[in-house]
């Protein structure tokens, strides 16, 4: 496999890469206000990784995207999601304890047309972040695994 693509692609990638990341994090952060959320934002961020891999080849991967770290991040994201669901166990699993409580993300939502209150929805933004982390790391893992390929084991 050719290691990297032409200079045009590499330059454009350098320009667009941070923008994609920012947009992805925006989608994750505003998941409770606008269409989108953890999965969509995570997929956007992961698409930046995909662009990086395609433009610079697998060799540039070394030292930048550590698959073991990505795996751990994915599991931490999943565990965080599960933990947030557990927070509501006093009432029911997934019960939103922060909504309307006045504390972080506990703001009241005005009725009628409004620009959207970022400081609302209780545990949902945290769940979006957890899912976003999991999807980002998970898709990046899949990409790396598919590109690098699994090593052949000579056992059994």
């Amino acid at each position: 496999m050719k290691t990297e693509m032409s200079v045009i692609v590499r330059t454009i990638t350098r320009c667009v890469y941070p923008l994609i990341l920012v947009f992805g994090f925006y989608v994750i952060m505003h998941g409770h206000l606008t269409p989108g959320g953890g999965f969509q934002g995570g997929a956007v961020v992961a698409s930046a990784f995909a662009l990086f891999l395609v433009a610079f080849g697998t060799k540039a991967l070394k030292g930048r995207l550590n698959p073991h770290l990505l795996q751990s991040l994915e599991e931490i994201g999943a565990l965080a999601f599960l933990g947030l669901a557990f927070l509501g166990i006093g009432t029911a699993f997934f019960y939103n304890i922060l909504a309307g409580s006045g504390s972080v993300f506990g703001g009241a939502v005005p009725s009628g047309p409004n620009p959207g209150v970022l400081n609302s929805s209780g545990t949902l933004p945290f769940m979006n972040w957890a899912v976003g982390l999991k999807v980002m790391a998970g898709i990046a893992c899949i990409l790396v695994a598919m590109l690098v390929g699994s090593r052949k084991e000579a056992e059994e």
Binding site: L33, P35, F39, A43, N114, I142
Partner: protein, 117 residues
Amino acid sequence: MSAVGSLPFVVSMLLVILGLYALLFKRNLIKMVIGVSLIETGVNLFLVTLGYRTAGVAPIYTYAPATTVRVLPTPQALTLTSIVIGLATTALLLSFAVLIYRHYGTLDVSKIKELRG
């Protein structure tokens, strides 16, 4: 329901049938994965269409006046979930296709039949 209103249903069923055609008659594993994705797209389109209301706005749009008609959020939630699941299944299918190519040296489905009889 008008003829135009039922068009999305027709298209979604067409997508399902196209996908089934790909699964039944295409010999390349990658094309079969595409067939599975087509069926999935058809079903997703069907679900989204179920919740659509004429001139409705997205149910999460905070600037919408209170009187506006909104589309049903439930089918959209279903579709999103189904898209996420579809991503996982497609990734898994493609990974297995990569493995099969590595072991068998071919992607022709009629040659990948060590397990038979």
